[in-house]
Every structure is written in structure tokens, then in C-alpha cells.
């Protein structure tokens, strides 16, 4: 490689890293406990709980919704989701004039209508998640962290290019521990960097895709879902909604063999102003991450469409497990944690190498 080319790549590696290192370190440090969110919340939150009336007929979804909204006067429903291992329905509602992003979340015992203890959303993990996602800055914060992810990808690409001249005379994995600290840490940096390259690239790139969730979902609503709403001129008032239970039953009939995941109410982020969007997931490991919504007209209660998600929403859906590492049980989570620690060492050693070089050069 020509000296000039080498200097250019070196410049890319230096600046893409320097600009993003502080943020990437924050992401790695907050990401480490977040890998174990489920386990942490299990320890912090889960108490012995049994449904009030396990053998009883249970409430239908309209009754559950009625009970939930009665406890939050003035709020309108946004989402409804379903616990997998207990007969609990989670109702998310929002005040129409409230601050954006402020929701009420109520787990409800479907056998009695009583409140059930929450098993997720502990303040500590929520705080870490918010810091990790957008640093409490909303969409601009998310997109900014996405830009830091793009710089990470530039740092990885330039790092691979620079790896070659550094390793021309050294066998793979060489660590010169008896040499001065700068040489030793350069070897650690290169070895850890190249070993974890594929994982960091996957987690970084899927992280960038996740930061685009809001624009991706908005684009989907503005294009694919738009056609469905052209027949209407005004949103459905909450009082005019047709039966939710009937809507879910109709959606289930339209998508047999799939698992009910959640319902997005008219006017919420994942639906139109006129439809219940009833989301189902597949039952194979891969399709479990891919959802298909059936849209039910919230006035007539008729099935309006089954709307398989376009490729860019599928890409977003698959980016989530690949970023979170929550799809292969505890062994995979432990590997995620080890690789995350390796990434922290790479970032720290990179910063040290830059400082040491500056000091030596001065």
C-alpha cells in the first residue's frame, strides 16, 4: 500500500473513532446489563402470583379494556399485549393531550380484571434502556446514536485495512508482552479487534437499523397503510369502536396457525386512525421475529386487509434480536456480554494508543 493511501485510511480510523468513542463506550457499558434485562427483572420484580380465578370463564378483551380504561379516566387505548406464561393482558393507554412518549401500562389478570404485578419495566432497566436508545433526547438522540454507529462501521472498515500493514511480519494473534506498553496494547487492540470484527459489525449495523425504527414505521404507515384509509375522512372516535374481541377473533381466522402478539389501536403508532392492527407472529424460530398484521375496520368490524410487512420493516424486525442477543438462550447472552467487554477493551486501548502517540509525538 502506498504511504499516502495508508495515511488516508489512518485518518479515517483516527477520526471516526475519536468522534464516536465516548458514545460507543456509553453504549457498551449500558448495553452490558441490558443483555440480561429479562434475568435482572426476574430477580428484581417477580413475586409469587396466581390468577384470581384460574378455572373461571375469564374476561373477554372488551371487558379487559373497559376495566383498564376505567382506572385511567380520560386516556385512550394505544396497545394491548399478551403475556405468554400467565393469563395476563397488558393494556397501554395514553392521554390524548399528554406529553409525547408518556404511557400508562397496566398488566391485568384476565381471569378477574384485577391488576396483576408487572414483570417488566423496572425503573433501573428502563433508565439504562432509555440512555442506550436515545440519551433521553427522543428521535434526535436516536438518530445521533445511529450516526455514531455509522462512524463505528467506518472505524471497523478502516481498521481492517490498517490491520494488513501492521500484521505483515507478525503471525496472527501475536502479542508482544515484553515490549513497551504501546506495542503491547497495539497488539491487544489488533487481536481483539479482528477476532470480534464480525460480531461488532453485526451488532453495530443492526443498532443503526434500530435507530431508524421511527422513520421506518412512519414510512410504512405513509405508503403501504395509506391506501387502506383513503375511504375515510375522519378518525374513529373511541366511543365508536367496534368490538375488540370480535376484531381479534376475525383477525385470528384470517391468519390461522400464527400466534397473537399484540393489538395496535386506531390512532396509535402501529396502526391507522381507522383500524385495529392485530399483529401475529410465526411459530418457527425465524418467523417468531417476523410479524404480520391483520387490519380490522374499527367502525364496521370487518377485515380490511392482511398486510404482510414490506422488506424494510422485516429488516427492522430481524435487527432487534441480532442486536439484543436474546434469541439463543443464556449461553448466547453470556457470549454477548463477553464480546461487549472485548469491545470496551478495544475502545479503551484505541483511546490509549491515540493518547500515547500524541504524547510521544509532542
Amino acid at each position: 500500500m502506498k504511504a499516502r493511501t495508508l495515511r488516508a485510511w489512518s485518518w479515517v480510523h483516527k477520526w471516526s473513532s475519536l468522534v464516536s468513542t465516548a458514545f460507543l463506550l456509553m453504549l457498551c457499558v449500558t448495553g452490558l446489563p441490558l443483555v440480561f434485562t429479562h434475568e435482572i427483572e426476574h430477580v428484581l420484580m417477580e413475586k409469587a402470583w396466581t390468577p384470581a380465578d384460574p378455572g373461571g370463564p375469564g374476561l373477554n378483551l372488551d371487558q379487559v379494556l373497559g376495566v383498564a380504561l376505567a382506572r385511567k379516566p380520560g386516556e385512550v387505548p394505544a396497545f394491548m399485549s399478551f403475556d405468554e406464561d400467565r393469563p395476563v393482558v397488558n393494556v397501554t393507554s395514553v392521554h390524548p393531550d399528554g406529553k409525547e412518549g408518556v404511557y400508562s401500562f397496566q398488566p391485568i389478570d384476565q381471569t378477574s380484571g384485577d391488576p396483576a404485578p408487572p414483570v417488566a419495566g423496572h425503573p433501573v432497566t428502563e433508565f439504562l434502556l432509555q440512555l442506550h436508545t436515545d440519551m433521553f433526547l427522543g428521535l434526535p438522540g436516536m438518530l445521533f446514536l445511529g450516526a455514531m454507529g455509522v462512524l463505528l462501521i467506518a472505524a471497523l472498515a478502516s481498521g481492517v485495512v490498517l490491520y494488513a500493514p501492521f500484521m505483515r511480519r507478525l503471525p496472527f494473534g501475536t502479542v508482544r508482552t515484553r515490549r513497551q506498553a504501546r506495542t503491547r496494547w497495539l497488539d491487544y487492540h489488533n487481536m481483539l479487534g479482528v477476532v470480534t470484527l464480525a460480531w461488532v459489525l453485526v451488532v453495530g449495523a443492526t443498532g443503526v437499523v434500530n435507530t431508524l425504527a421511527t422513520p421506518i414505521i412512519d414510512y410504512w404507515k405513509d405508503t403501504a397503510l395509506k391506501a387502506l384509509t383513503q375511504a375515510y375522512d375522519s378518525p374513529v372516535a373511541p366511543g365508536q369502536h367496534s368490538s375488540l374481541q370480535a376484531a381479534v377473533d376475525k383477525a385470528r381466522a384470517a391468519l390461522p396457525g400464527m400466534q397473537l402478539q399484540f393489538v395496535a389501536f386506531p390512532g396509535s403508532a402501529y396502526s391507522t386512525d381507522h383500524h385495529y392492527a392485530v399483529f401475529f407472529r410465526g411459530d418457527t424460530p425465524l418467523t417468531a421475529h417476523l410479524t404480520t398484521p391483520a387490519l380490522i375496520d374499527a367502525r364496521s368490524g370487518n377485515l380490511a386487509a392482511v398486510a404482510p410487512l414490506p422488506w424494510y420493516v422485516k429488516a427492522l424486525s430481524l435487527s432487534q434480536p441480532l442486536h439484543f442477543g436474546d434469541y439463543g438462550g443464556l449461553p448466547l447472552k453470556i457470549l454477548w456480554a463477553l464480546l461487549d467487554i472485548a469491545a470496551i477493551v478495544i475502545l479503551g486501548s484505541g483511546l490509549y494508543l491515540w493518547l500515547a502517540k500524541r504524547k510521544a509525538g509532542a
Binding site: 505483515r168 508482552t177 477476532v195 464480525a198 460480531w199 453485526v202 424460530p285 425465524l286 434480536p321 439463543g328
Partner: protein
């Protein structure tokens, strides 16, 4: 190490390429499969991390 010995680009990158392929295989295997594939995927990913103690044990100079 002999003075003046230079590795070719392929010699420099064959181990990193192998490790990257194994990592990607592990990540995807655990995603598209269940049970035994979760184990195979995690094992593949874990084996790439094994390069670190291996390097520290055998390539220390």
C-alpha cells in the same frame, strides 16, 4: 522470527476471515434454528472467542 519475512495478504487475513465466517454462521444458526441450533450457534461464536486465550498462550512474544 526471521528478519525480512513478509506474509502475503492471504496469509494475514486467512485466520481473521475464518473467524468472521464462523461468527456469522453462529449468529445466523441460532437465529434461524432452535434448540440444537442454539447450541451449535453459541458454540461457533464461543470458539471464535477461544482465539483470544489461544493467542495469549501460544503467540506471546
Amino acid at each position: 522470527m526471521k528478519r525480512g519475512r513478509r506474509f502475503t495478504l492471504w496469509q494475514v487475513f486467512r485466520a481473521p476471515v475464518g473467524i468472521a465466517m464462523l461468527s456469522l454462521f453462529g449468529l445466523v444458526a441460532a437465529l434461524v434454528g432452535d434448540h440444537v441450533w442454539d447450541v451449535i450457534g453459541a458454540a461457533a461464536l464461543a470458539s471464535t472467542l477461544g482465539a483470544v486465550p489461544w493467542a495469549l498462550a501460544t503467540r506471546r512474544q
